[in-house]
Symmetry: none
Subunit: 211 residues, 4 copies
């Protein structure tokens, strides 16, 4: 049982270190829902259980909070990939299957969808954010893809072709699924599993010929 220490009913104050993170979480939710411009700091504060002014103790401006929030979310989702690719023994197709499977797992997660929503809708307006994501995530993914293709070519599994030169096309469907759900999700949502199956089917058909 709790000691009857604080009769006012306020929830025990959280350890201060958590504050900025709570604000960021609240901000992420609001930014995803309304977009940067339409998000009110007051609502962010309310969601974080504090008052507007307090946000400024941790972030210099709305924009700073926005960027901090978006940066915070960048997981190391793909950190492990380069190594995996390097050490992988199986076929190119299997490697791609692995990668694509990971993508669906990673991206169709509530938190990541939130981030995706924001980047999709605000990315163009915030070059700094776009660059960050490009550097830390998307670009990495691209590199991995390229390395997979090079490996495939080197191993004789693939022949040089427009596709092997532009392998990004191979993950088009995931991107489409995310964006689709962001925009038309309310009307006609895409079921990730089903889409993943079709995607894998496509990969197999396209690359698995000589299996």
């Amino acid at each position: 049982m709790e000691p009857a220490s604080e009769p006012t009913g306020k929830p025990r104050r959280r350890r201060k270190e958590a504050r900025p993170h709570e604000i960021i979480v609240a901000g992420l939710a609001e930014f995803a829902e309304r977009g940067f411009a339409a998000t009110r700091l007051e609502d962010v504060a309310a969601r974080a259980g504090i008052v507007k002014g307090t946000i400024y103790r941790y972030f210099d401006s709305k924009e700073m909070l926005f960027e901090a929030a978006l940066s915070s979310g960048i997981g190391s989702a793909f950190e492990a990939l380069p190594e995996i690719v390097a050490d992988y023994e199986g076929s190119t197709l299997d490697l791609l299957r692995l990668l694509v499977g990971r993508l669906y797992e990673t991206l169709f997660t509530p938190e990541v969808e939130l981030l995706a929503r924001i980047i999709i809708s605000e990315g163009q307006r915030f070059p700094a954010v776009a660059e960050l994501y490009y550097r830390l995530l998307v670009g990495k993914g691209r590199d991995v893809l390229r390395r997979i293709m090079e490996r495939g070519l080197a191993r004789g599994e693939l022949l040089p072709s427009p596709l092997s030169a532009t392998p990004e096309a191979l993950i088009g469907p995931v991107v489409m699924a995310i964006v689709w759900n962001t925009i038309f999700g309310r009307l006609d949502p895409i079921e990730p599993k089903r889409f993943l199956d079709a995607h894998l089917d496509l990969l197999e058909k396209a690359l698995g010929h000589n299996g």
Copy 2:
């Protein structure tokens, strides 16, 4: 008496018919650049060569203008497709090539890119707009794709598979290209031609097996 100094303002133009369209064009540009919330009607007006107040003679509110602008842009890009599919004599692969080629032609156009930019970034926040585009465009495209697959199955060119059940995956790459350019275009733009080649290559590899 006053000297015949410059009469206060510019001459009042009178374009009756053209005005609403001019405003819409200006609005589209501003909305694409800044997003709905951050767009200032004053800027739209300036771009249209008129004054803020004048917008209200034609549109009841900023939101009305936004929706009018987005509606106005919905071309009949895909109108002809159903017929084409119905009358087509060639292979499924060729039909898909045709469709995908059209998509690249249509979507990578300055005006359409503008619209795409807006829908991508604001679609989630304006259900009415999303629905409009779903009904008049995206849904149509989806239907055409499905019909193509059915036709392919009927003709014995395809076998039932996850991909034939979810053929949207086939156009994932175009969607990815558009979105990519919207967000990362400044950092590392996708060259549509190159991407189209990869996309066609992918289709051919995946569906042109028995060549």
Copy 3:
């Protein structure tokens, strides 16, 4: 039957002389309903069956229209009274009865109520209007009242008293009735007839003692 001359359906254009008056009538209605500041010239025009701009052909400004409208309404309701008083043969009480009866008849008329509504609500803000009404109407009424009292004193029907020195109090009830209906009419309207009876009763009790 009408000749099929004007197929467009516009009502025959009124003789131009009527225009200003139609505008004034429309203005009166709007001003009474919304007050000067909240009245939109566009609504006045619509009610008069013309367009906003046309008002300016007849009136220099909204305020001019307002004053013109209020001036136009000043009937000669009391024009005849001085003479009547001068020629009257009966008792002071009867004379007052006559006057008060007239007041109720005159004031509880749709058009006059309209005017009253406007004067009550805007009189303080438009000194010119207040002065006009004071000069042409209210002041006249006051004079008549005074003359009636003088006559009564002279005829020995009244003795000098606070009331004979301030006879305006005698018509307080009518004023109250009008104002009451203007403000509380929707909640609990005063029925003029009933109020008139009470008013006459009051006069009789107060002045008809020794009859």
Copy 4:
């Protein structure tokens, strides 16, 4: 480095408790002077020594401020009356004298005149306000009057008559005086004392017959 010039604005006061009331007082003055529609929140703010935006911390809109201001002013001017009537031992005439005297005392007060001015001029446009005043003030007054008449009838001091059935007429003169001063006060003000004397004289003449 900048010289220690005057720090941009005035020091931010912090009156927490007092603020809303200060705003209301300022609002009352402006509304009385210009009417609701023509009052600028900026002027209200200036008069209250704050900035426009601050008003919105306490009131949701101009209209809310208006209603709050009018509500705030409703004193309990007549609270005590019912009891007084119940306990009174003297004659009906004396009771009426007492009531009317009170009315003059209460109504001809700077603050009340302000309120009266507003209610007279805006009451018709704000049903909510009219109802409030009807419920809390005017209706109460009416009830008191009726009770006085009933009491008079019961005590045999009065006989049933149109006036006893509609005793509101008895206070017509006060209402007239207020309204008159509101509208014609600048041209020809009524002196309350003088009017009160006439009013009392009228009451006495009308009801004090049987000595």
